[in-house]
Amino acid sequence: MPESPVVLPVGRHALLIELPGAEAAEAFHAEVLRRRAAGTLPGVTEIVPGARTVLLDGLSEPRRLAAEVTGWEIPPPQRGSEAAVEIPVRYDGPDLADVAGMWGVTPEEVGRVHAATPFRVAFCGFAPGFGYLTGLPERYHVPRRSDPRTRVPAGSVALAGPYTGVYPRSSPGGWQLIGTAVDTVLWDAGREPAALFSPGTRVRFVPQDGGRE
């Protein structure tokens, strides 16, 4: 039996629903979206999935919903069969050798493992269009850099903890940089949709040859 969600009030108009793990959070998030689409969810401004939580903000009667959600029947996550977004990548990041050291493999092998892994966007945050992508087996999880960079170039493909991600624009950052996404625009306000990644998007990295001439 799955554990039931823990409902934490956040101010007077929001609830943070904490699930036992990432998969349960994904299933709960899917259920929230299903109920909203069916018109059975009370009005809500933001639905924000996290690592193992879902935040519902802008509720007029959060207590009422809080009492309801613990009784929801949540089916296991339905993994959609939609095509994965493919990100061409050159594995040329400045931290590639460090990551290879932590994994105990060659730098070339880091790219091979990363590109062979099917990823999903667990949640977004940090910057518009930044997705926290899960799927990397636990033995490949690496810590953040002890000295964050003040400037990480846009398009950097990076690792931290259970996640991989692509920096949508130049910003400070502490993740381990293993590569560079080629010809990929993560965020374009003039595009519909503006964000290439949204929670649930399947992602696959495709190694590019000739990137290290």
Binding site: V10, R12, S198
Partner: protein, 332 residues
């Protein structure tokens, strides 16, 4: 409109872009929302028209009527004519011509709300909190804030900028929306809500003057327990409601940073990233809380010890560095 003096920080703001947090996009929008709304009401603008949010030392802009303004004027006249015709009894109820209707055909109107400041048009004093006319080519200046921190400069028809996800707000964290104003930059006026008519609302609906509450000498913030209050010691929770905090000069549109006693954690370790609301009081590892404001990140990995009630955030937007802050526990 040409920026003559951008000041320390002047941005275009409206009601923000709610509904996109799941894509990593903060809500953003005017920090003192009541002041922004009031500016639009005084001008007869729709609530989502954009104003200039200017910080600390104000700004100055030259308003010129080019072709665009002429079009706005013509359109405004048409819209108001139609509104007057379809809104029964507006003039009859008030007993006068709709106020803005008389002015709209002639010149641009502007108003300054939020933090009180000296207002001038081409160097001559103009009222604060009351709409005034701006002749073609005149420079409208909002001076340094005399009380509070952020003034709002509104123009009839609103400040135009290309909307991003339905909003013209400058989001300093994400870099969305127009860049903060720079000297010499040009911006268009008009465009209102972004709707096809660029629409002014019913002219007779505008109030005459601005109600205003002075920023208190001490900011008292009602606080509801946060989702991660249990990550802190009982002592930390007591410190929070009894300790002397002050607004730090490092505060910005992302968060109100505080100086004061450190809040001790009961549990160590990292919190997996989770969604964050405006008003959340997040405590980073060094122990001093930050009240998250409009440009706050949508998710965060530090525990939220409490949440400041939404109604108090406008006062937070006007708190100058050094202002004493007290948190007072209220029920959720």
């Amino acid at each position: 409109m040409e920026v003559v003096r951008a000041g320390a920080l002047t941005t275009v703001q409206d009601l923000g872009r709610p509904g996109h947090a799941h894509l990593g996009v903060p809500r953003s929008g005017a920090l003192d929302e009541p002041a922004h709304r009031l500016a639009n009401r005084l001008l007869g603008n729709p609530a989502d028209a954009a104003t200039l949010e200017t910080t600390v030392d104000g700004c100055a802009v030259r308003v010129t009527t080019g072709g665009a303004t002429a079009r706005t004027r013509a359109r405004t006249g048409t819209t108001e004519g139609a509104a007057a015709g379809t809104t029964e009894g507006t003039a009859a109820r008030s007993g006068t011509e709709p106020k803005t209707g008389a002015l709209a055909g002639a010149v641009t109107e502007a108003v300054v709300t939020g933090a009180p400041c000296a207002v001038t048009v081409d160097g001559r004093p103009a009222p604060w909190g009351v709409p005034f006319r701006v002749p073609d080519g005149a420079v409208v200046e909002a001076g340094p804030a005399q009380r509070g921190l952020r003034s709002y400069v509104g123009f009839s028809g609103g400040v135009h900028a290309e909307p991003v996800l339905g909003s013209r707000a400058t989001d300093l964290l994400s870099g969305l929306g127009p860049q903060p104003l720079r000297d010499g930059a040009r911006l268009a006026l008009g465009g209102g809500s972004g709707g096809a008519d660029g629409g002014r609302v019913r002219a007779g609906a505008a109030p005459d003057a601005a109600p205003w509450v002075a920023p208190p000498r001490e900011l008292v913030l009602p606080l509801v327990p946060g989702p991660r209050a249990d990550w802190f010691t009982d002592g930390a929770l007591r410190t929070l409601v009894t300790g002397d905090y002050r607004v730090s000069s490092a505060s910005n549109r992302i968060g109100l940073r505080l100086e004061g006693p450190v809040l001790e954690r009961a549990r160590e370790g990292e919190l997996p990233s989770e969604g964050i609301v405006s008003g959340a009081l997040q405590v980073p590892p060094e122990g001093r809380p930050v009240v998250f404001l409009a440009d706050h990140p949508v998710t965060g990995g530090y525990p939220v010890i409490g949440v400041v009630v939404q109604e108090a955030l406008a006062a937070v937007a006007q708190a100058v560095p050094g202002t004493p802050v007290r948190f007072t526990a209220v029920s959720g």
